[in-house]
Symmetry: C2
Subunit: 437 residues, 2 copies
C-alpha cells in the first residue's frame, strides 16, 4: 500500500470505510487487555520464586559481619547487599545507600528533602520563589508528577537519538539558577528505549550549572535489563565520569531490583558522592532506624552475586524479547511504508515509544480503549499530560501474554491507520471545500 | 540503711568511700553491656523464625482477592493484612494504610508532608513563621528529633500518673494557633511505661485546637505489648472516641509489628479518618506505587489472625517479664527507702523510667559508661536532650541476657548511690564551709 499522504480523496474514502468495518469487527470481540504499565508478567515473576526458599527457620539470618538481620539498625544496608547492588549499579560499595522497596520513593524523598531542607546547606527550595526542573520528553510520567506535586515548574527538553538535546540543557542549566535538577532515564529510556551516547554522558558530567544545588537525577532503572545477549547498550558510568570531570557531587543515581526480583518487594538504592551521601544521611537517620535487612539478605542469598543476577536477567530477556519482537513485526507489517507512524526498536528496558501523525495519539488511544485495549494515556509521557504534538504513545509489551499482545498490537495499528485516514480525509475535504469557494 | 538525706557528713563520707571502692571493683571486671535501646533480644527474634517458612516456591502468592502480591500496585495494603493490622490497631479495615517497615518513617512522612503541602488544604507549615509541637516529657527522643529537624519548636508538657497534664495541653492547644500537633505514646508510654487514663483519652478526643490543622500523633507502639496476662492496661480507642466527640479528623494513629515480628522487617501502618486518609493518599500515590505486599502476606500467613498474634505476644512477654522484674527487684533491693531514686513498674512496653536525685542523671550515666554499661544518654527523653532536672534515665531491659541485665542493674544502682552520696556530701561540705565563715 502506498503512503496515506499520497492518496486521493476517493482512495482515502474507500480506505476509511474498509478500516472502519475492520475496527467494528475487532470491537465486537470484546477484548479486555492492558498495555498501560511496565509490569512484569507472571512468567517473569515465577523466575524469582526461589527467593521464597533461600531463608528458612533452620538457618541463621546473620550477615557476613555478624549483624543479626532480624533486629534494628544498619542505615546504609548490609555489606553483602551493598556489594551486590553496588555491582548492579556499577559503583563502589561505600557510595550507595540501600533503601526500601521503591526507587520512586527514594527519588520523592530526595526532592522532598531538597524542598524542606535544601541541598548541602543551600536554601531550601520551599523558601525560593521559583524552582524549575528539566524533563526530557517523551519521558516517565511518575518523575514529572513528583516535581509537579512540589510546585516545581517542569521545563521540557526533547529526546534525540543520542539522548536529550544537550545544547539546550547546557544553555538552560548554565543560565538559569532556578533550574535545580533534571530527570533522566539514561539507559533503555522510558519510553523511547534508546540509551545516552558516550558524548551525551560526558557532557552531562561537565555541566556548569548556575545553581550550586543543581543535581542530575539519574534513574538507571534498566541498568541490567537487556533484551539481547550480544547487542547490549553500554553507558559510561556517570558517578565516575562526574568525578573525572571535577564535578563529583553533581549526580544522584537511582536503581532498584523491582524488575529483577519482585516489583514492590525488591531493593531500591541511591548512589552518589560521599559528600552527597553524608548530606542525605543527616536526614535519613531522622526518618528511619533502617530498612529491611532480611529482604536484603534474601536477595543476596538468592542471586549469590552479580553474575547470578546477570544470568537471571537473561531469563527475563528470554520472556520479554519475543514480546518486543512481535510488536515490532506487527507494526512493521501493518504500518511500514504508510508514513503515518514511527516507533522505536529498543535493545532493552520495558517500552516501545510509538508516534502517530500529529494530532492523532489521543484518538488512537481512545479507539483502542473502545475496543477493549487499555494503553498508557496519550500525553502521559509529557509533564502535565500535555503532548504538544499529540503524537506519542507508550507501548508496554511486558505484561500481556504473547497472543493477547499480538491482538493488541494489531488493534493499535488498525486504530492508528483509521485515525490517520480520518484525519487526512478531513483535511482533503476541507481543502476541496476551500477550492470550491 | 536510712535515707541518704538524713545522714551526717561523717556517715556520708564513710558511705562514699565504701561505694567508691565497690565501684572500682566492678569497673575492674571490664563489662561490655548495652541497655540503651528498646531492641528485642535474640530469644524474642527466634519466636518469629517461622515467618521464613510460611511462603515457599511451591505455593502461590495471591491474596484473597486474587491479586498477585509479587507485582506492582495496591497502595493501601492487601485485604487480609488490613484485617490483621486493623485488629491489632483496633480500627476498621478501611481506616488504615499499611506502609513499609518503619512507623517512624510514616510519622516523619506525615510531618514532612504537612510541612511541604499542609494538612487538608491548610497553609503548608513551611510558609508559616512559627510552628510548635507539644512533647510529653519524659518521652521518645526520635519523635522529638523529627519535629526539631523541621525547625518546629518543641513545647514540653509533663507526664503524670494518668497521662500528660491535660490542663496544660487544653490551654496550650486552644490558645496558640501555631501549635500543630502533639507526640504521644499513649500505652505503656516510652519511657514511663504507664498508660493514659480513660479521662485523659476522653479529654484528648475533645480538644478544641485553635489550629484547624492540629493533629494528635498517637503512636500506639505498644498496643499489644503486655507483660502480664491478667494485668493489662486498656486504652479507649482514640479514633472511635474522636468520632463520638465530633472530632473525627483530630488524630493520626501509628503502629507497627517491629516488636511483634522483626524490627526492620515488619509492617508499619497509619490509621485515621477517611478524610485524613484521602488527604494522605494524594501525596502517597506520588511517592510510591505500593509497599511490600509479599511481606504483608508473610505476616498474615504466619500469624493467621489477631488471636495468633496475641498468643505470639504472650511468648514475647514470657521472655521480657523476668527481665523487667529482675531490674525492679534489684532497684528495690539496692535503692528502696534511700530517698535518692524513683522508678516505674510498667505492665507492658519496653522501658522503665528511672529518676535519680536532681542533677545526678548525667553523672550516673557517665559512671555506668566508665564501668562498661551503656545506658540511653541522660536527657535523651527531653527535646534537645535537655532534662531541666537532670534526673531522668530510660532503662531498656529487653536486649541483654538476664544475667548481664542483673549485673547492669546493680551497677546502675551503685552508680546512683555513689552520685547521690557525692552530691549530698558536697552540699554538706559547702554548708559547713558557709557556717564557718
Amino acid at each position: 500500500m502506498k503512503p496515506y499522504a499520497e492518496m486521493t480523496m476517493e482512495e482515502l474514502e474507500g480506505l476509511e470505510k474498509e478500516l472502519r468495518a475492520e475496527y467494528k469487527k475487532i470491537q465486537a470481540r470484546g477484548l479486555e487487555l492492558n498495555m498501560s504499565r511496565g509490569k512484569p508478567c507472571t512468567e517473569q515473576l515465577d523466575l524469582s520464586m526461589g527467593m521464597m526458599d533461600v531463608l528458612s527457620s533452620e538457618m541463621d539470618l546473620l550477615c557476613e559481619d555478624g549483624t543479626d538481620c532480624r533486629n534494628y539498625g544498619v542505615l546504609d544496608g548490609i555489606p553483602e547487599a551493598l556489594e551486590l547492588i553496588g555491582d548492579m549499579m556499577e559503583v563502589q560499595y561505600d557510595h550507595l545507600i540501600i533503601y526500601g522497596n521503591s526507587s520512586l520513593n527514594v527519588m520523592y524523598d530526595q526532592i522532598s528533602r531538597s524542598y524542606s531542607h535544601g541541598v548541602m546547606g543551600n536554601t531550601p527550595w520551599c523558601k525560593l520563589d521559583k524552582v524549575k526542573f528539566i524533563c526530557i520528553v517523551p519521558g516517565y510520567d511518575r518523575h514529572f508528577r513528583i516535581t509537579e506535586y512540589f510546585g516545581i515548574e517542569n521545563v521540557c527538553v526533547p529526546m534525540l537519538e543520542t539522548g536529550p538535546d544537550m545544547d539546550m540543557i547546557e544553555k538552560l542549566v548554565s543560565e538559569d539558577e532556578s533550574i535545580k535538577g533534571i530527570w533522566c532515564t539514561p539507559k533503555y529510556s522510558n519510553p523511547t528505549g534508546n540509551s545516552y551516547s558516550d558524548e551525551t554522558v560526558r557532557r552531562f558530567a561537565r555541566l556548569e550549572p548556575a545553581a550550586k544545588d543543581f543535581r542530575i537525577y539519574w534513574d538507571n532503572a534498566y541498568t541490567i535489563h537487556h533484551l539481547y545477549d550480544h547487542a547490549q547498550d553500554h553507558l559510561i558510568e556517570i558517578l565516575a565520569e562526574c568525578k573525572r570531570a571535577g564535578n563529583p557531587d553533581l549526580v544522584y543515581k537511582f536503581a532498584s531490583t523491582s524488575k529483577v526480583s519482585f516489583p514492590g518487594s525488591g531493593l531500591a538504592a541511591l548512589a552518589s558522592s560521599l559528600n552527597n551521601l553524608e548530606d542525605i544521611r543527616r536526614q535519613l537517620q531522622v526518618q528511619t532506624i533502617g530498612h529491611d535487612k532480611v529482604n536484603q539478605l534474601r536477595h543476596v542469598r538468592f542471586f549469590g552475586n552479580i553474575h547470578g543476577m546477570v544470568e537471571h536477567m537473561r531469563r527475563h530477556a528470554d520472556i520479554l524479547r519475543p514480546k518486543f519482537e512481535a510488536v515490532e513485526e506487527i507494526l512493521e507489517e501493518e504500518l511500514g511504508g504508510l508514513g503515518i507512524a514511527r516507533w522505536t526498536k529498543p535493545k532493552g528496558g520495558y517500552f516501545i515509544s510509538f508516534d502517530t501523525m500529529d494530532g492523532c495519539a489521543k484518538e488512537v488511544v481512545r479507539k483502542c480503549a473502545k475496543a477493549g485495549v487499555i494503553m498508557t494515556p496519550a500525553g502521559a509521557t509529557y509533564p502535565g499530560g500535555h503532548d504538544p504534538h499529540d503524537s506519542n504513545i507508550r507501548i508496554a509489551p511486558s505484561f500481556p501474554p504473547l497472543e493477547d499482545l499480538k491482538t493488541a498490537a494489531r488493534l493499535l495499528a488498525l486504530a492508528t491507520k483509521l485515525a490517520a485516514a480520518q484525519k487526512l480525509l478531513k483535511e482533503k475535504q476541507q481543502e476541496a471545500a476551500g477550492a470550491g469557494n
